[in-house]
């Protein structure tokens, strides 16, 4: 329990091997696991936002066109200037505006369940939001402009150098493990997936299930010490499994546990799988939690403590 890594290992022995799993330390000093947003999801979120921005800008110009065709106003120049200014502000500050107002999300990010947070775990500052979004100018809009305006009139090596240059910016998210854009790098931010997690019944205190079949297995300390925390939580997963073939899985798990702790089925014709597994889970959790309170955190069955 010293330092974040050990805490993390202790807190979630299963599933922490994901390449997107990271942790942050909140200002209160509590370590929270987070999951980085997938690059594909981020790309889709960006495309959504991009479409919104350009939808608005095109709408503005269409409006301008309608006004010009209507011929009601004399001062078209003013209107044109206004539309240009508005387009510039919308394009440059759309992302920053939403990330400031919506706690690090934009409409696109919200649709994809993504969020910008501070990499060090501190608050997301306005400076960071502005910095990461100003960078988009070079990462996205400049390459697009170069492609559209066809600034390829120079020599071949110039063109290649330009493309290579811009490619470094554009493809930066693919070149580092955290999927950081250049904007994320200069702002000290990263994009994480919104956490999901519903609270289910406590398996060790499931009144409905207990009313149905009160527990009646008891185990020796030696039998309970056959396994560690990893196996306990794997068993929890098996017990919470609601898939169609979950019954078969549970029967197989029960068979293996019985073999391991040398406690054969009393009546093989009428196996009492559910009750046995739940009682074993409860007893094992009681044993392991008690030992944990005394400072012994037995990681798995190979951990001889």
């Amino acid at each position: 329990m010293n330092g974040p890594e050990t805490t993390m290992q202790a807190a979630r022995p299963i599933g922490s091997g994901s390449p997107l799993a990271r942790w942050i330390e909140t200002p209160e000093g509590v370590v929270l696991p987070i999951e980085l947003g997938q690059r594909g999801e981020r790309a889709v979120a960006f495309i959504l936002d991009f479409l919104i921005v350009f939808g608005i800008i095109i709408g503005l110009y269409l409006l301008l066109l309608a006004v010009i065709l209507g011929g009601k106003f004399g001062g078209i120049g003013w209107l044109f200037a206004l539309v240009m200014l508005a387009s510039f502000f919308i394009r440059s500050f759309y992302f920053a505006f939403f990330e400031l107002r919506w706690q690090g999300t934009t409409p696109g990010k919200r649709a994809m369940g993504l969020r910008v947070i501070d990499r060090a775990g501190g608050p997301l500052t306005p400076q960071a939001v502005l910095g990461r979004n100003l960078m988009r100018e070079v990462e996205v809009f400049l390459p697009i402009m170069v492609l559209i305006s066809g600034t390829f009139s120079g020599e071949v090596w110039q063109t290649l150098a330009t493309i290579g240059w811009l490619a470094v910016f554009m493809f930066m998210p693919l070149l580092n493990r955290d999927g950081l854009r250049v904007g994320d790098m200069i702002a000290g931010t990263w994009v994480v997936a919104a956490p999901k997690g519903a609270l289910m019944r406590d398996l060790a205190h499931d009144e409905a299930a207990e009313a149905q079949s009160p527990s009646h297995y008891s185990f020796t300390t030696k039998q309970l010490d056959a396994y560690g925390i990893y196996e306990l939580q794997t068993l929890e997963g098996v017990l919470r499994d609601r898939r169609p073939n979950a019954g078969e899985v549970r029967a197989e798990v029960a068979r293996r546990i019985r073999a391991k702790i040398e406690m054969p089925e009393e009546d093989p014709a009428d196996p009492d799988t559910e009750r046995f597994l739940r009682d074993f889970y409860t007893a094992m959790r009681a044993r392991l939690e008690r030992r944990m309170l005394l400072g012994v955190r037995r990681r798995d069955k190979h951990d001889r403590r």
Binding site: F88, G104, V168, S218, D279, R285, L293
Partner: protein, 354 residues
């Protein structure tokens, strides 16, 4: 309670062995803990779910005050649960609830107006003062460009074509007669009023973009920023040489500086921001490159925002001030006043407040 005694291995009989559980009457510490804290978690979860769909604005004042309290409560629950509970679902739930609450509590401030006010009065001038050496270096790059451009062009006007693209020359080349060179300096733009406003906003978006680029390209070790500043200086120097050779030096200076004080300062600031990024990448010092980039990047971003605002002021001065004020000495006056105002703002504003 019927207890099925099952065969155990060796001499350890079930009755003799300590019971590690099995009876429903035994309530685990973690179960009791959960029963006691769960209502608070559920309250927080309901608050968060509402804030996530409707924004923080959908919470009333009382709920907003309760949010950080419930957030700290769930963090403490998580710490306790990590110490006493092995229920993985419970731990995962508390972690995700803590993260969601953390995102809301530390997700940035939503009071945009006071944030902007503080930014202008304190954050921006402080950032500029902190970056004074980068600004000096950035200004040096541009001044060097001006000097080189001027000296080379005044010696041989052919250099002009090297430094100034046809687009920005717009006919003002060494082959043009003096009157052609003089006319744009004192054009009041009458009759062009409408196009002028469009031009002003074009300049604004164009120059602002150049500034943002000088900043953003600084990430590439700062080299493009230095080049951008230098080339910008070359163009200015070449123009100055051309006009001086026709005896129009001070007229050009007045035409340029009325908005140029603001605009060139803004470009220099953007360049300084770019150089900060470049330095953060090249010399990370005691931090990792990424950490250092993040530290420098935030400061640099502040400066660039300030520069964008300055570009806006510059475009106004250029689009309107320069067309309305035609006398060169008055133009110098405006240039001088803007210089003093900017210097006062950046050097004095927000001093003493942390």
């Amino acid at each position: 309670m019927a207890t099925v005694h099952t065969r155990a291995k060796g001499d350890e009989t079930p009755t003799a062995a300590p019971r590690a559980g099995g009876a429903p009457a035994v309530t685990l510490k973690s179960t009791a803990f959960r029963a006691e804290r769960e209502p608070a978690w559920r309250r927080l979860e309901a608050l968060i779910t509402r804030a996530e769909t409707g924004g923080l604005a959908s919470l009333d004042a009382r709920e907003l005050l309760r949010l950080p309290i419930l957030y700290r409560a769930v963090l403490s629950s998580l710490s306790v649960a990590r110490a006493i509970s092995l229920d993985r679902n419970l731990l995962t739930y508390l972690e995700s609830l803590s993260s969601r609450a953390y995102f809301l509590v530390y997700g940035g401030r939503s009071n945009a107006l006071s944030a902007i006010g503080r930014f202008l009065a304190v954050t921006l001038p402080a950032a500029v003062r902190a970056a004074r050496w980068y600004i000096a270096l950035s200004a040096l790059c541009m001044v060097l460009g001006v000097v080189v451009g001027y000296v080379l062009t005044i010696g041989n006007l052919d250099w002009f074509y090297t430094f100034v693209s046809d687009g920005s020359a717009q006919g003002r080349t060494p082959t043009a007669d003096t009157e052609t060179l003089r006319r744009p300096l004192f054009s009041d733009g009458r009759g062009l009023g409408e196009r002028l406003t469009a031009f002003a906003s074009f300049l604004f978006t164009h120059n602002a973009r150049i500034g943002i680029m000088a900043f953003a390209l600084g990430f590439a070790l700062g080299a493009p920023t230095v080049l951008l500043l230098f080339f910008n200086g070359l163009t200015l120097g070449a123009f100055a040489a051309l006009y001086t050779s026709r005896g129009l030096g001070s007229e050009l200076l007045g035409w340029l500086l009325i908005h140029g004080v603001t605009e060139l300062t803004a470009i220099v600031l953007c360049g300084a921001a770019g150089l900060m990024l470049g330095r953060a990448v090249i010399f990370p010092g005691e931090y990792s490159r990424l950490q250092n980039l993040a530290r420098a990047g935030r400061l640099a971003a502040v400066i660039v925002i300030g520069a964008v605002l300055m570009f806006f002021v510059a475009a106004l001065l250029e689009g309107f001030g320069r067309q309305l004020i035609l006398a060169t000495d008055q133009r110098f006056l405006v240039a001088g006043v803007t210089a003093v105002l900017w210097a006062l703002y950046f050097l004095r504003s927000g001093r003493g407040t942390s």
